[in-house]
Amino acid sequence: MSEALPLGIDAALLGVEFDSSVSPPVTAQEIHEYAASLGESHPVYFAPEPVAPPTFCMKFRGNRFSPPALPRRAFARSFDAGKDIQFGAPIRAGDVIHTSNVLHEVYEKTGRSGAMVFIVSRLRMKNQRGEMVAVIDSRFLIRGEAAT
């Protein structure tokens, strides 16, 4: 057993892939529907061979957002605190998206409302040519008794 992080999470879990996925080929219709649902108007999103809006990448989340070894109580009172996305190659119709998810960071903060623990998962996405499509860091905040 290596060093323990907040919530007793084993530090050995950091950086270890706990989930991966491969999407079916992206269709032009999926891109059109996504862009239309946001009221986007850029013609490249609606072309017969469209480029997807940048945030289309968030559609690919893999199968789970945290390692199975994480304590269940950690997520009993958690909520989505935010995201940081680094965008790479645009997604186009026909692309196949490969995802790989790791536990990136676990850290504690104390505020007026008491102890809080942040769990950050990092989702890396590549296309079928091996080009980086996006890196998404998702922060989950656990507060109150669940964080102590």
């Binding site: 940048p54 935010g82 940081d84």
Partner: protein, 143 residues
Amino acid sequence: MSVERIDIGDEIPPLEVVLSGDDVRRYAIAANMPGQRFHSDEVARKEGLPGQILPGNMSMALLSRMLNEWLPQARLEKLGVTFRGIVRPAAPIVCSGFVTDRRPHGEWVEIDCDLILEQAGERRITGVAVLRLDPPAATAPRG
């Protein structure tokens, strides 16, 4: 807008929308977000929410749309947000922002922006974005 005219402090033209519950459901389906709190008032209330809410991803995507409408020739390099409160359909949503830095790199320029999404006069989401602007001749379709 040309690259040369963008400067620190410039305001991004705000994006104001009022989304219906159907609009949110349509996004949730298109974005592969099956969580029923994004689809149904009833389920959302059972989860302790006041009713159907927008996925955080949809709020991020609205901020991205605002940037796209401001600078359609730019490429979004980074987008980061902090979710501070829930965002709901059937009430005005106002996305806004301003330029906080401008870094020339030879022929292209990087622009940093602070972003805000407000509803009912409250900041529900704050964020930052980095955009890349290439010279017009080199501009590829954005993604």
